[in-house]
Amino acid sequence: MSDVSRVPSGSTLEIHDLHVAVGDKEILRGVNLTVKAGETHAIMGPNGSGKSTLAYAIAGHPKYTITSGRVLLDGADLLEMTVDERARAGLFLAMQYPVEVPGVSVSNFLRTAVTSMRGEAPKLRQFAKDLKTGMDALSIDAAFAQRNLNEGFSGGEKKRHEILQLELLKPKIAVLDETDSGLDVDALRVVSEGINRFRSSGETGVLLITHYTRILRYVKPDFVHVFAAGRIVEQGGPELADKLEAEGYEAYTKASA
C-alpha cells in the first residue's frame, strides 16, 4: 500500500522532534513521525504516555505549549496556524472526549462546519441528502440532527458522531484519538467501516490512537508505533500490535523511565 517510490497523489503530515508542555510540565519529549496519504499509522501506548497530548498539540489546543519542533502539512507550517486554519488546511482530530456544546444543534453545527471548510454554503438539499446518507451509514438516528451538539450523547454516540464529521468534512489527514474506546461490537464495526470509507480513496492519511488491537482487525494499519513517556519508542508493522496486546507495555515503560 505504501510504495515510497510512487509519487504520492495525496498529502503528508510531518512531525519533527516535537516537544510539548502543559504548564511547566514537559509531556512530549521529541516526537518524530510522518504520515503520508494512503497510509494508516497506529499509535499504542500506556495511559498518560502523551498520545492525546500529541493529537491536541497538532490540532492547536490552547492548553498545550509547543516548546520546540515542527509540524508540517504538505510543507505548510501547521504550528503557525490558528486551530480553524489547521482544520481548513486538511487536518481533522476525532477527540477522545468530544465536547458538549449547549444550545448548538448538530445540524446547525455541521452546516456551519461544512460551510467554513468549503468556503461557501452547501446547497441545502444536497447537504440534507449528504447528512442523511452519512447518518444512515453510521446508524445514527435522524433525530440526532436536532439535538444539541454531543449533549447527553452516550460515549458510543459521540464517537459515531465524530466519524460522521470526518466523512462530511473530508480532511486530508485524520487523527483519531481512541475512537474505538467504549464502542460495542456493532458500533465498532460501523465506525470502522466509516474510517475505511474515508481511507478508500488512497489520498488520505490516518493516525489512529488506540489501546486495543480489536479495531486494527477492521482498520488494518501499515505501521504501528509504541508510545511511552512522551515519545515513540518502537515501530513496526501490524504484528507489533499483537505483541503489545499479548505482552503489555511493561518492557517499554521500564526502558523509558
Binding site: T82, D84, A87, F92, A113
Partner: protein
C-alpha cells in the same frame, strides 16, 4: 402555629403608597447597594415630572384599553410600592393605562404597548393589565427612545386565566429606567414573563409575583446583553404564600466591554402556609471581555417543611475554551465559533418566546449586539 409566632420573611417586608415612608437611599441599604445612585438622575430623591414618555397601545380587538386618572379605583389594587423609587412613581404619575380582558375572552393577537421616551426631563408612569377569570392574552411592553423614567406595572391574573408578557427594554444609550412589574395570580392562574433588556445607561427592573390562591404557575424568563458602561439590574421576588403553586425563574445575560455591569437578585420566599410549593431559580452570566462585572445573588428562604421542590443555581463565567476549540477544530473561524456558542447560551430561553415574529426580533437584536 398562631399568627404571632409565624416566622416572618426577612425579605421585602416593607410596602407603602407614601413616598415619605421610604428614606432617600444612600447606597448602603441592601436593596440599593448595587445601584449607582448618582446615575439615577434624582428618581430616588424626589425629582418632579418634567418630561414625558408617550404610551401607545395597539390592542387586540378583544382587549379594552383605557387611559385613566389617578383616582381610578383599579390602580394600586394588586401592588403596593416596595421601595423609594416605586413609591415616587406611584405618587407622581399623571395618567395610567388600564388593559382589561373580560371573563373567558381569548385575545386573538398580542397587544403591544409602546413606551417612547421623548428625550427630555423626568417622567413617571403606571400600567394595569387585568385578566378576568379564564381569559387569555399576550401583552408586549416595548420600551424605546431616551428617557428618565420610573413606573409600576400591575398584572392582575384572574382565576384560571393565562397572561403572557414580553417586556423589551430597547432604550437609547442614555436612558435611566426604574420599574416594578408585579404579577398577582389568582387560583390556578398562569403567568409567563419574558424580559429582554438591551439598551439604556441604567435599567433597574424588579419583577415580582404573589399568589392569591392555590395552583398558580409563574415562569419568569430574562435575557440581557450588557455593553461597556451599562448598568442592567434585575431584581426578582417570588412570594409563595399559597399552597401548591409553582415558580420558575431563569435569567441569562452576556456582558462585554469596560464597566459593563449586570446585577441579578433572585429572592424566593416560601411561607409557612405555602405547602407543596415547587420553585426553581437560575441565573447565568457570560463574561465576554475583561472589565465586565456580574453580581448574582439568589436568596431562597424556606419557612415550611413541606415543599415539592426548591432549588437555585447561579454561575458567572467566561466562554468555555473547550467549546470554542471544538468548533474551531472543525474549521469554523473564531468569531463564528464565538457567535454560535453565545447564541447557544441564549437558545433555550429564546425558544420560550412563543410568538415567532417577536422571537425573530429579539434574536435579531441579540445578533446585532454580538456584531458590536
Amino acid at each position: 402555629m398562631g399568627l404571632e409566632t409565624k416566622p416572618l420573611s426577612t425579605l421585602h417586608e416593607k410596602a407603602s403608597y407614601n413616598v415619605e415612608d421610604f428614606a432617600v437611599p444612600t447606597g448602603r441599604e441592601e436593596e440599593w447597594r448595587f445601584t449607582p445612585l448618582s446615575r439615577l438622575k434624582g428618581l430616588h430623591s424626589g425629582a418632579a415630572t418634567s418630561g414625558s414618555v408617550a404610551v401607545h397601545v395597539d390592542a387586540a380587538p378583544e382587549v379594552t384599553v383605557e387611559t385613566v386618572g389617578r383616582d381610578d379605583q383599579r390602580l394600586g389594587k394588586a401592588y403596593v410600592p416596595a421601595d423609594r423609587v416605586s413609591a415616587q412613581a406611584y405618587a407622581a404619575f399623571e395618567k395610567a393605562t388600564v388593559l382589561t380582558v373580560a371573563r373567558e375572552v381569548v385575545a386573538s393577537k398580542p397587544t403591544v404597548i409602546t413606551f417612547t421616551g421623548s428625550g427630555e426631563g423626568h417622567a413617571y408612569g403606571h400600567t394595569v393589565v387585568k385578566l378576568e377569570p379564564m381569559a387569555e392574552a399576550v401583552v408586549v411592553l416595548d420600551h424605546q427612545g431616551s428617557a428618565v423614567y420610573a413606573d409600576n406595572v400591575e398584572f392582575v391574573v384572574g382565576e384560571g386565566a393565562t397572561l403572557k408578557v414580553v417586556s423589551l427594554q430597547d432604550w437609547a444609550d442614555d436612558t435611566v429606567h426604574v420599574s416594578h412589574h408585579h404579577a398577582q395570580l389568582a387560583k390556578d392562574a398562569t403567568f409567563r414573563s419574558f424580559v429582554v433588556t438591551l439598551g439604556g445607561d441604567l435599567v433597574r427592573l424588579s419583577p415580582s409575583v404573589s399568589y392569591a390562591g392555590p395552583g398558580g404557575d409563574a415562569e419568569l424568563i430574562g435575557l440581557y446583553f450588557v455593553d461597556a458602561g451599562q448598568h442592567l439590574e434585575h431584581r426578582l421576588l417570588v412570594d409563595h404564600s399559597q399552597p401548591n403553586c409553582k415558580s420558575n425563574v431563569a435569567y441569562k445575560g452576556a456582558l462585554q466591554g469596560q464597566d459593563a455591569h449586570a446585577v441579578w437578585i433572585g429572592d424566593v420566599i416560601i411561607r409557612v402556609e405555602a405547602e407543596g410549593t415547587d420553585t426553581y431559580e437560575l441565573n447565568r452570566n457570560l463574561l465576554l471581555t475583561d472589565g465586565a462585572r456580574a453580581d448574582s445573588v439568589p436568596n431562597l428562604e424556606i419557612l415550611t417543611g413541606e415543599v415539592a421542590g426548591a432549588g437555585h443555581a447561579s454561575a458567572s463565567g467566561r466562554l468555555d475554551d473547550e467549546h470554542i476549540f471544538y468548533l474551531q477544530a472543525r474549521g469554523i473561524p473564531f468569531e463564528d465559533a464565538r457567535r454560535l456558542v453565545i447564541r447557544g447560551f441564549f437558545a433555550q430561553l429564546l425558544e420560550k418566546i412563543e410568538l415567532p415574529e417577536l422571537r425573530e426580533r429579539v434574536l435579531a437584536k441579540v445578533e446585532a449586539e454580538l456584531e458590536k
